[in-house]
Symmetry: C2
Subunit: 620 residues, 2 copies
Amino acid sequence: MQAPSRRRRWPGLPSPSAREAASMYGTAVAVLLVILVAALQGSAPSADPFPYHIPLDPEGTLQLSWNVSYAQELVHFQLLARQPGAGVLFGMSDRGELENADLVVLWTDGDRAYFGDAWSDQKGQLHLDPQQDYQLLQAQKTPEGLYLLFKRPFATCDPKDYFIEDGTVHLVYGLLEEPFPSLEAINTSSLRTGLQRVQLLKPNISVPTLPSDLHTLEIRAPDVLIPGQETTYWCYITELPEEFPRHHIVMYEPIVTEGNEALVHHMEVFQCAAEFESFPHFSGPCDSKMKPSRLNYCRHVLAAWALGAKAFYYPEEAGLAFGGAGSSRYLRLEVHYHNPLKIQGRRDSSGIRLFYTATLRPHDAAIMELGLVYTPVMAIPPREPAFVLTGYCTAKCTRLALPPAGIHIFASQLHTHLTGRQVVTVLVRDGREREVVNRDSHYSPHFQEIRMLKKVVSVRPGDVLITSCTYNTRDREQATVGGFGILEEMCVNYVHYYPQTQLELCKSAVDPGFLQKYFHLVNRFNSEDVCTCPQASVTQQFASVPWNSFNRDVLRALYGFAPISMHCNKSSAVRFQGEWSLQPLPEIISTLQEPAPRCPASRGQSPAGPAVVSIGRGKG
Amino acid sequence: MQAPSRRRRWPGLPSPSAREAASMYGTAVAVLLVILVAALQGSAPSADPFPYHIPLDPEGTLQLSWNVSYAQELVHFQLLARQPGAGVLFGMSDRGELENADLVVLWTDGDRAYFGDAWSDQKGQLHLDPQQDYQLLQAQKTPEGLYLLFKRPFATCDPKDYFIEDGTVHLVYGLLEEPFPSLEAINTSSLRTGLQRVQLLKPNISVPTLPSDLHTLEIRAPDVLIPGQETTYWCYITELPEEFPRHHIVMYEPIVTEGNEALVHHMEVFQCAAEFESFPHFSGPCDSKMKPSRLNYCRHVLAAWALGAKAFYYPEEAGLAFGGAGSSRYLRLEVHYHNPLKIQGRRDSSGIRLFYTATLRPHDAAIMELGLVYTPVMAIPPREPAFVLTGYCTAKCTRLALPPAGIHIFASQLHTHLTGRQVVTVLVRDGREREVVNRDSHYSPHFQEIRMLKKVVSVRPGDVLITSCTYNTRDREQATVGGFGILEEMCVNYVHYYPQTQLELCKSAVDPGFLQKYFHLVNRFNSEDVCTCPQASVTQQFASVPWNSFNRDVLRALYGFAPISMHCNKSSAVRFQGEWSLQPLPEIISTLQEPAPRCPASRGQSPAGPAVVSIGRGKG
């Protein structure tokens, strides 16, 4: 460590202000930063006070680090601006828009620098929050760039503020290139801005004990030349050694090539189908015409990582089996490169490092699919801002398929296609909603990661699992039906659980006969528009519905009332024995409350206005 | 004025606490009270710092006075407890329940007295608010009883707090008969409690100039012996002098017999129908078998008053015509005595004092009925917590019936039967909701008063008026249909306006043909339950609907979609010329936002916990 060489302030030399504690740090040195942050964590200081890091912009000039205190219900942020220019703007919004965003702004009027909690209106114009909930703890210039350290409670009770909750958070940023006379003079539409999705409230999971015979296997794309286009899905086939016996994967972590942190968006490792003896080797874009079609049979997820995620750990009692008889030796790595600046010539060898052991754990982990069957009978009318479809895993199915002691869900990956906006799975026991398995109220189809649950959820025989997806079809002119196509929709929660059972799919869809009653009814109220003749497909029928308020409301009512057809399957082809048609919807006699912001008991010393900032100079 | 005779504190002698400004008033004298309150009003001191008064309990031992500052968005309360016992509890809740209430509590542990902002949970148990938003300004013992002076902002942003808004407020109170070791030890279910409905946010209307030839007419019940039963509607017939010429009523005010303030709940004066030469005299309960049936023809409202209301003023440009040719000389006074303690032998001569002038004002005022036609086609399914029915006054009707310069609505009386919980009328122009005519989000059918609007609403030809009522039928087993019966429902807004037009009724109901389509549809989804044969009445049809979620949702969808039948009537029998069947619902392209609490910018010096109270002793 070294003392600061100079004490030059940025950008001017404001006189220290007594009304804001933050300015007392004006002359702080880097050593203080480390001590301060360790102290803020509240417990034993860890090696890295900010365990989570993410680049905000494609060039990586804005780097965000953070930690979460669940005890204090707040997040500490450290924002590094490598080229701060005339200031920087950072915050959160519902879906990453720069309008109606909750923001913290560091700006200069050319004379002094200011830090303030602000919000942007519908037109992107900034306004100071009447209540300052982002609290600046330190501002410091180093040779690397400008460091800002600030904290923010999960909930502030300021109606203009974003409520930080579990699941995806859309972070937004902006770079100020010139001084502004006041905060109100700033409009986000005139700035260089962007968004980054991240799971801000990472679960506070203690690392399970790892076996002593831990081996690693790196599944990496071999020296890929990243295409100079915005979106590339890169496919790479590799294989396990011959005679590779059965092992348990107990953890995995990302390997991201240095310098490419802002380009590698997400990565998944799939195991290929055991029914094929071998798979051709391939390394190229997944949509390439050169891609062997057999690669479509490599769909069993072994590992998945997305931007901002750290290592994934299996619970101590379980591991994910791979290798050995009955499983394919072939693996497919898929890397999503997100390159909005269309940078050319960048090389990458990112991938995933699997940690596995031959000392098999007591239980095999497995994946079960909850939600909706992929069928057009489940459809979303066009121009709906928030239409909900719900899939059921019924008591009858869990009673038949789950072991008496139940199963334990420890992770979850939510999945929809392009119009998905929220996903939630709730556990119902004896007609009462008991707990949320996983909820993402700011879900994005562009950010699908496997998330460890904060709390393992145990599911017993007779329990019901209800998965609801909310869709936005505002920009669509036609109904969006369920199906495999990217312009069709899905509603799926892949839950990771142990011990493994035969139940692979527990999903539902509305009874097709009741849907035909609906089309009849639409005709009765709208003088024969929908063909209810046998040769019309459901997709065609939906396409001919005139979408007035009545037909929308009645479709919603139908989905909330009509009996369902269940898929309670061992594999996608084999059903458990029983009657699965015309099943009644599970009855719910009590529901859980939606998560709501809990206002901090005391607001503390939140200043009423923006703070004049003194920026210290730290070590390089 | 006189100085306090003693300085005894109540109940003990707590030492003054420096942390709460309230305790600084501990030794305040009565003279200070008056000065203080005058100053709090912010403008020129008025004669009475608290213009509004209401007894809270049937015995009148708790007397509430208040004033409203719209500039500061807060209410000053003065609560007089004539028998404070071991403390008192006062507050507000959604519908007058003592559970989930927002409360202020003065209690003693036998040693000291405390004042705190609290809330009651679902079981009625009290909890201290983390944020103290009721601010005690003075506590003072006088020979009359204990006076508490405190203030409360309309909105606090504490999620446990009640949001004080326009319309009815359900005040609740409780009397503490013994000391409690702590606030948390108090449960409202063990106390003597009650509720009182009041319009807390009275409009701040400046009194119009009154004519110099002002006469008064007192319509009073003549020495009524109030029956010793909870509810009595007293009917009294009186008459204007013969040859009484046409006059304008320009204001009226209540006359309440002293001592009966807590018993006289509301009063109305009706004019009888002109078609009858004379009406028999009568003074007795309205439901008496002795009541002449002709009295049912006395329904044209001249004046209406309810508990807590003050004088009613017509705008300077208009008066309500009465007397003269073409109008009946006979008037009916109806007084609602609310006597829950079944007090016997009390005599009463309350009534209404009309102020009228022979100098006719430029315009006649009139009343128009908005909302729903009284027909069973508009029905509410049973066990609905908040079902909305909507009545329309369409552009076609206002275009035909209103003068080019439009009309000006200055007062409104909302009306439903027993299940009504909210009523709102909104003005729509060019498809956009423009302003609220009147809204009551805590409407009670037991508290129907004519309310002067805070702002006169002008309605032009081509405007649309939409009146929505929200009903709670949780405790009903059968559908509630529209109609005149007390167990049937209405949704009406009687708007008081000028200049008078021929339009008396502008109301709607769903097209009956579309309702029959609905019954057909119910049968299709539920295998023939509802008789759609011609001899079945709509009421019988609704009674045979199986009320599953689908039939509820589809009825709601029908009412939101199906064309309407309009009543655009000169009097209840005579329609304006035109086609009024199968009219399309008005299209709304933008809606107003619901009123939401605006958090005060700064919380001020709100203490974190309850305050120890020093109680001064004032003059008698």
